[in-house]
């Protein structure tokens, strides 16, 4: 059986090397409010191959597959499908061409049954009336063909994540398939389910389907990948065979000229500001976390998206209920205290999603900046606001952070992404803060702002504040921090210091390595 599989792989790989691609992308560019998400990317998929897209979070993988799947349209460049130029204008259009995507975020309606979800938008009808028995028959056939042990009548809401993933994959199979996009499909699957999925992928490969596969797991690339294209900052760095070494691959993924981007920060740790002991949250996102951050140091917290990095800070800040363990702030236990109490103690949490959690998009910049400090004597006296002091302070901070345009009465929404990020940072300077926690501070900002943000963080640290930098961005971790905690699946997997902080070391502890 094993030998068979290996044979299959080999016979699948070699003959197709010269065959014309199913889908070709040429010079694809996509810009989001000034920041280039994709910059002239070339990419192609051949029939019967698994083409892996590899890169850091934010490198442009999601944008690329969204373009292929018809969810968004590129600003420049063209797509060729079976050698013919096409303009994929919608998800439906992509489907009609045989291009289907299984995204990380599911597109299932939880209230409907599996069969209803499978054929949503292309229901079986007789004279305009839903033909339920035909739907059920086709759904069952589809699930059987894929070898999924699911009942077609089950309601999606009651399925596990892995089962929902299977439904999502099955949905892609309801029509003839020529290109299948899988976005980290194994993230929520068990080993057994993963094996099932891989068998399925092999089956598809032998049928000549081209597969675009996104993963962070190097083992998976080894198992099923044929070619790998590495994306970095919206550019295709190169396309290589799956036999590339891990070191080379990681080098391609992260390597960049970083000397000027990162400031050198003096490292002089003093007394501890925050310390957690065996911290775990009620929702199980993190377990047994013990870490500490001292004044005058930037501590990194690395890990993949969803590893629970943010949850640590959120639990300490009183946003997530703690189930066991304790948090100590300046030697005083503060487990379970409210955000207000933590703010007053000198803990400032800068969230990762400025739109979602950071700013009032439809209000002016001044109000967002002043919000965390309204209860301090500088901004209010009793119940009354000190509006002049508020304006002066907001103006001063806008100047300090070089907000462009420097108009604090402008609606936040009308600022560019990078300047919105500056407004977010300005919020943290309105109070006396001893510990700054930055959660992905440079997501979606251009290089210029990035540099400004790193300087900003460096200055805070040199002025004696404690800084915890939560980041999925490897260079950030490597160059700004002298001590790094690495997380995987809600647990700390390593504490690295000084020379131990290398790409290989950090990544090794980030990625899961299934026992092969």
């Amino acid at each position: 059986m094993k030998a068979d599989l290996a044979d299959d792989e080999n016979s699948g790989r070699l003959p197709n090397a010269g065959s014309p691609p199913l889908l070709t992308l040429e010079g694809i560019t996509k810009t989001y409010s000034g920041a280039k998400a994709l910059d002239g990317v070339d990419f192609d998929v051949r029939p019967g191959e698994v083409h892996v897209l590899f890169g850091e979070n934010g490198a442009g993988k999601s944008t690329l597959i969204s373009i292929v799947a018809g969810a968004i349209r590129p600003d420049a460049g063209r797509l060729l499908f079976r050698g013919e130029p096409v303009d994929i204008f919608s998800v439906q259009h992509a489907r009609s061409l045989g291009i289907s995507a299984v995204f990380q975020e599911f597109s299932l309606v939880p209230q409907l049954s599996i069969e209803e979800n499978l054929f949503l938008g292309s229901e079986e009808t007789t004279f305009g009336v839903l033909d339920k028995s035909a739907t059920r028959k086709r759904a069952s056939e589809l699930l059987d063909q894929l070898g999924f042990s699911l009942r077609a009548t089950q309601r999606v809401a009651y399925l596990s994540r892995a089962e929902q993933q299977m439904v999502e994959i099955a949905k892609a199979f309801r029509a003839d398939l020529s290109v299948l996009i899988l976005d980290e499909p194994t993230a929520s699957l068990t080993d057994k389910e993963t094996d099932q999925l891989f068998a399925l992928i092999d089956q598809l490969r032998s049928q000549g389907v081209g597969i675009i596969y996104i993963t962070h797991r190097i083992n998976e690339i080894r198992k099923i990948g044929d070619r790998i294209t590495v994306l970095r900052d919206g550019c295709a760095v190169g396309t290589v065979g799956a036999d590339i070494s891990e070191t080379d691959l990681v080098g391609m993924m992260t390597g960049r000229i970083i000397d000027q981007i990162f400031p050198s920060v003096r490292y002089r740790p003093r007394e501890r500001v925050i310390e957690t002991r065996g911290l775990a949250t009620a929702d199980g996102a993190i377990k047994d976390i013990s870490l500490h951050v001292a004044k005058g140091e930037i501590v990194g917290l690395a890990g993949l998206v969803g590893s629970g990095k943010s949850d640590i800070a959120r639990a300490c800040f009183g946003l997530i209920p703690v189930s066991s363990g304790s948090v100590h702030f300046e030697g005083v236990e503060t487990t379970g205290k409210s955000p207000r109490a933590m703010l007053d103690a000198g803990f400032f949490y800068v969230p990762s999603d400025r739109r979602e959690e950071g700013l009032m998009m439809m209000r002016c910049a001044r109000e967002s900046i002043a919000l965390p400090a309204l209860s301090t004597p500088e901004f209010s006296k009793g119940f009354a606001l000190r509006r002049r002091a508020e304006s002066e302070r907001a103006n001063e901070l806008a100047k300090k952070l070089n907000l462009q345009p420097r108009n604090i009465e402008r609606t936040v929404e009308h600022f560019s992404g990078g300047n919105q990020q500056k407004i977010l940072l300005a919020k943290s300077l309105t109070r006396k803060v001893k510990l700054f926690v930055f959660d992905e501070p440079t997501v979606g900002v251009d290089v210029g702002t990035r540099v400004a943000i790193y300087r900003f963080i460096g200055n805070l640290c040199e002025n004696g504040a404690a800084v915890l930098l939560i980041s999925s961005d490897m260079p950030e971790i490597l160059h700004l921090t002298r001590r790094v905690y690495v997380m995987c699946r809600g647990a700390l997997t390593a504490e690295l210091t000084g020379d131990q902080i290398t790409q290989e070391n950090v990544l090794r502890h980030c990625f899961e390595r299934e026992a092969a």
């Binding site: 009032m360 439809m362 209000r363 967002s368 919000l371 965390p372």
Partner: protein
């Protein structure tokens, strides 16, 4: 020759374009309300000679007072991203409880008129506010959607008011109550207008100059950011519904004084009209945006339209149609305005 002609044409075109742009800018800056007000005044002035007289305009102000109070209360619910459909019921409950208590107190001690009036008003307003309190608890603590919570309370309150009165008006309040709070005046200002002005000025201060006021905007603007900034979002949400209930209760008591009876079926049109006044005034239904002074103007506008239609002898049933149409038009215009803003950004 032809060049000159085309030049003149071009100049004309550019002039038209620039004046159109100016109009656009005014529309974007000010919203629909000033335009609607202008149109209404012109139309009704043409339709009726009596419209643009001092006495009639004072009449408009007096008639709009009750709506203005309720609409300003409604604004608090809208600012936080919710709304209150029970404002009409709050008027009814306030009226019935207030009138019943006042009549009972007056019967028990006919000589203490002032005390009876005070007791009645306190009971009525407390009854009205309690509905706001329950709305607030439901929305802030139990996360019930404002739509269901206030719709449910509208039914509860209306049922209680009908049950208490059997559907008939409550009589027996001291005549002085109506004389002072319904028809009286303070320094030439009708009492209801004076009371409303006082409350509006007070709330204007709260909304624009106090922390609490800013918190309403913050909770509606981004409730998660507000929470991360250490704001007690539940308390803020709760207070929004209490404020709303309080304003509706005051309106209910003043209207009771005007009618001289406690009625279970006053205020039926208030939910629609108060939300209409807010929306026409540019309050966002998604929360976070809205100015109190504009809401007062919005209420005045609706009063103006109703008054104008009365003078123009438009049938009262048709007037209800017009109010609905105006509300929808205002929302459409606002969507249009947002699209212009989006285009202007590029």
């Amino acid at each position: 020759m032809s060049d000159e002609g085309s030049n003149a044409e071009r100049r004309k075109a550019s002039l038209a374009e620039s004046s159109l742009n100016l109009l656009k800018l005014a529309f974007v800056r000010l919203g629909v309300l000033p335009f609607l007000l202008l149109i209404a005044v012109v139309v009704f002035a043409v339709m009726s000679d009596n419209f643009l007289t001092g006495r009639n305009l004072l009449n408009v102000v007096r008639q709009s007072t009750y709506l203005a109070l309720v609409a300003v209360g409604q604004m608090f619910a809208l600012l936080t991203g919710g709304f209150d459909l029970s404002v009409g019921t709050i008027l009814a409950v306030t009226s019935v409880f207030g009138a019943t208590a006042m009549a009972a107190a007056y019967t028990a001690m006919p000589e203490a008129v002032a005390a009876a009036i005070a007791i009645g008003m306190i009971v009525g307003i407390a009854a009205g506010i309690s509905i706001g309190v329950i709305n607030g608890i439901g929305v802030a603590i139990f996360n019930v959607s404002p739509f269901m919570m206030s719709l449910g309370m509208a039914s509860v309150g209306f049922g209680i008011a009908l049950y208490m009165t059997g559907g008939t008006p409550v009589y027996g309040m001291p005549i002085e109550f109506g004389d002072i709070f319904g028809f009286g005046s303070i320094y030439g200002l009708p009492t209801p207008v004076a009371v409303a002005l006082l409350l509006i000025v007070l709330l204007f201060y709260v909304v624009n100059r106090t922390r609490l006021g800013r918190y309403f905007y913050a909770v509606g603007g981004n409730i998660k950011a507000a929470r991360l900034s250490g704001i007690n979002t539940r308390l803020t949400l709760f207070l929004a519904y209490v404020f709303c209930g309080g304003m509706a209760a005051v309106a209910g008591m003043l209207l009771t004084a005007r009618l001289d009876t406690g009625e279970a079926n006053i205020g039926a049109t208030m939910p629609l009209e108060s939300i209409a006044a807010c929306v026409i005034a540019g309050v966002s239904l998604r929360g976070g945006i809205g100015r109190l002074e504009n809401v007062v103007l919005g209420a005045l506008f609706i009063g103006l339209v109703q008054n104008g239609m009365n003078l123009a002898r438009i049938e009262s049933y048709l007037q209800i149609v017009v109010i609905g149409v105006l509300l929808i038009l205002a929302v459409v215009a606002d969507q249009f305005r947002l699209r212009i803003i989006a285009n202007m950004r590029d």
